[in-house]
Amino acid sequence: MSAILEVKDLCKTYIVNKRQNNVLKNVNFSIERGEMVAIMGPSGSGKSTLLYSVSGMDRPTGGSVLFDGREISKLTENELSEVRLNKMGFIFQQMYMMKNLTILDNIVLPAIQSKKSSEKKKAKMERGLALMRKLGIEDVADNDINEVSGGQLQRACICRSMINDPDIIFADEPTGALNKASSQEVIGELVRLNREGTTIMMVTHDAKVASRCSKVFYIVDGNIKGQYNLGKEEDHEAVAGKRERDLMNWLMEQGW
């Protein structure tokens, strides 16, 4: 396996009220292709900042981020947009969508905008519908975004993140705003995606969700304090409880 994301000495500093706030302090890690990685840590530890910095959504203050061998911190705004559009997918906790578009239109929006393939618009729409079908939300394709449940909306966000067949999906607390049932549905979809080869990096507070990942980074005060390798989840029903317990024990050791 080769690394899709290599992070070296990553720093991120904010100046708030003339005070320097070092949110990330020389963070180093790498993620292999096909991995599913969870970032965990207490509130304010820098999880989301890390996610945004490595995904090119935010500019690091120092260090380097190699995405697929390319230094993304040196890319221009437009080049970063191209990378985000064609090679990355994003899932937000807040489930942002264009409010004047239907669910299906929102899902296919990145595909229509992308020049990645010569695929016709109609084919893109069909692909969007197929994704919705796969995630069980085909019925709400023509609905407005305020006409569906939170779970359906988050699954729609997953569909949108997948529409351009990205190399990696970044997810910021994808289940944070969902109930238990919806969380399970959403995480199930992400695991399925990962099994199909998509690399996933997510921020979560939920050990149950994190236990389904192959690797967990625990971040404290802007540094990765520890890394826990869970390995690929083969049979969820059989190993779910054990993986979660093992992870919880490790997290306790980290000070969770």
């Binding site: 989301s48 945004y52 090119g56 959504m57 935010d58 705004e77 437009n78 947009s81 191209e82 990378v83 985000r84 559009l85 064609n86 990355m88 994003f90 937000f92 807040q94 942002y96 969508m97 264009m98 409010k99 004047n100 578009l101 239907t102 299906l104 239109d105 296919v108 929006l109 990145p110 229509i112 905008q113 992308s114 618009k121 109609k122 893109k124 729409m125 969007g128 023509d142 609905n143 407005d144 305020n146 006409e147 949108r160 993140s161 351009n164 910021d172």
Partner: protein
Amino acid sequence: MFLHILGRDLKRKRTMNLIVLVFIILSSMFLASSLNNVVTILNGTDYFLDKAGVGDYIVATMGYQTRGCLDEFLDDNPAIKSYTLEDYYGISGENIRVNGKKVKTASNGFVEVPKADNFQFFDTENRLITEVPEGKAYYSVKSLKEFGISKGDTVTITIGETKIEVEIIGAMKDGLLGSGNMTQYRFLVNQKEFDEFEKDESVRDYYFGQVCNIFTDDVKTIKSEVSEISGIGFDAERSIIAVTYVMNMILAMIVLIVSVAFILVSFLVLKFTIRFTIQEEYREIGVMKAIGMSNFRIRSFYIVKYLGMAVIGAILGFFLSIPFGSLLLRTVSATMVLGNDLGILMNLIGSVLVVFLIVGHAYLCTSRIRKSTPVDAIRQGQSGERFGKKGGIRLGNNPFGTILYLSINDITSSPKRFFTIIATFAICSLMTAIIANTTKTMVSRQMTELMSVKLTDLYIIDVGAIMKNGIYDTGEGDIPYMEHLREELKEEGIEADLCYEKIYKYQIRYNGNEESVAVLQGIGTEMTDYVYLSGTAPQSENEVAISLHYEKKLDLHIGDEFVMIFPDREERVMITAVFQSFMQGGECIRIHQDVKTDASHFSSANAYQVDLKEPTPENLEKSRDVIVRETGIDEANILNSRDFAIRLMGVLDVMKSVELMLVVITLIVVMLITILMERSFISDEKAQIAMMKAIGFKNGSIIGWHVMRFGIVAFLSVLIAMILAIPLSQLIIAPVFGIMGTEKVVIETDILKSFAVYPLLVFAVTALFTWIAATHTRTIHANDTANIE
């Protein structure tokens, strides 16, 4: 706690609150200044004439021999409440040198001394001129350009052997002679300079005159008595003086229309702002409902918030409305002192109205709080229940690009919101078109027809000849003058007819009443040379045509008869036609060319006219040379029909300035509204913009989306404006011309400006400033998805 939440709200939503505040300031400024201007303009002429001390009836005599001719009439006349009498010296362009150079003018004027108890004069800052220092002079503001006079110039006035030299210390607004329609000008000098003329008997005999300013409640009797006095050079009731300002008032009415349009724009902007912001606050309203706050409490929170902003905005708008209102009126009030007795009270009323409108609108908008559940409010007022599929073109099958689709989709998804913006811009575009069409109409051939003259190729404004032939030669000099010119032109190989239009004052008797009326008579014309609205051209001496205004005023119609009283006879005449005219404020009758008239009732004339058989450019040029050679007048006083009408109306330059100023102001308003609305949209769509950036949309695409959206809105606005420009110009501007008795004016369309230049300007300003405002989206980053609520 309540105030604490309010304080936090104002701080947290600083951008949007600031935008709302700016909108309120703009609305208050528009409404306050417009209300004041409406009152000012509606009272315009009367206010100015009152200030200028113009009485109810004005009589002017000419020649020293006429001195005292009014004495008998003025002494113990029960119809006269009071009067003042002042002396003047009449001059023409020939008598004047500016900085030693001859001036090009066809007009005549007066030299006078200001008197405290008579006509009042004002400087350009509207300060009363009480006296003129020795060696100095004020000059009529309306003629500054014509004479090329400016402050500091030395003017030499030479009459006969007497010469005075004065330095111009400023321009002066003059109630009696101040309108563009009054071709006369006036110099105000010190008594010492004036007395120089008084000493010279030869000057006194020919150039001396008196103006009597009469205050009366019985204008009709005065008018009747004055018509029996010989030696009267000019007489007019106040309403006629007021009518001479009609062109200024037409301009003022244009400002009034723009002001009313700004009032509409204010309402639309306020409606947009309040609805837009309260809609954005529904989520918070839902939260407050959810935690158990009462509807009253929630509503009062928003009402207090908007009341506070409305009061601050209205106060600032009130102060801004004073210079803004003056700016709007500045061009049209160049020759008048405009104002109203209410002063800034109207501005205050306008600003207070804005506060009521905002609070009232906020109250209505928050009424949904009572009906909606917390969940409805959180969902921004939508129930979330819809069982049908969303129709229309979809992103996947749209024939446009993504950006254009998003723009169109936004507009069709929120039609109410965008309708307000479209209506606002459409009103602004319409204003520019209406102003352009008014200017176009004012320079059209139609205006020459409304001057009640035959349409000919050239108009010779030879004031000296008009006065000499019309008055001193007992009216006999016109025909030889024209015959001479005709012969001279013929010698140069140019066949031409010459004609002339004279205005007399005669008494008429109708339905038991007597009235002094302006009577038009053409010399060298046929009755069929004129345009009539209805009926047939008079064919004999006992047939007349009557103006539309008079038809209504005197209740005399086609087929009716009345008696014309000439000095030597009375003639019963019948009305056969109705015409419309600007002459004499639209109050006149036209008599047959063969009717015998007399010089003692001659009132005025404007020009000798030349109608070429072959009006080729060469013949026209040659004719001008012949006329200059034979009459000695400046070529600038030989005009074509269009320029003749423009000269007579005397407001084209002002109209052009008004047009320019109003178009610029309208574009500034469009610019401000564009910037503020675009910033409102950015503020509202921050999360969407951040999300779009996160999923790979470039800055250019997002800016393009915003520019495209406003571009479509601007396009629709100018399209609506273009469709409505012609009918609305006619509907709005024709009644303005109607004030002068010409309500049947066909408003002409300035195709270039109405359908190309101004719409393109509105479109370009909207697109440019949307783009400038939209560059603010660059400050929203993909990582803002983590911070936006």
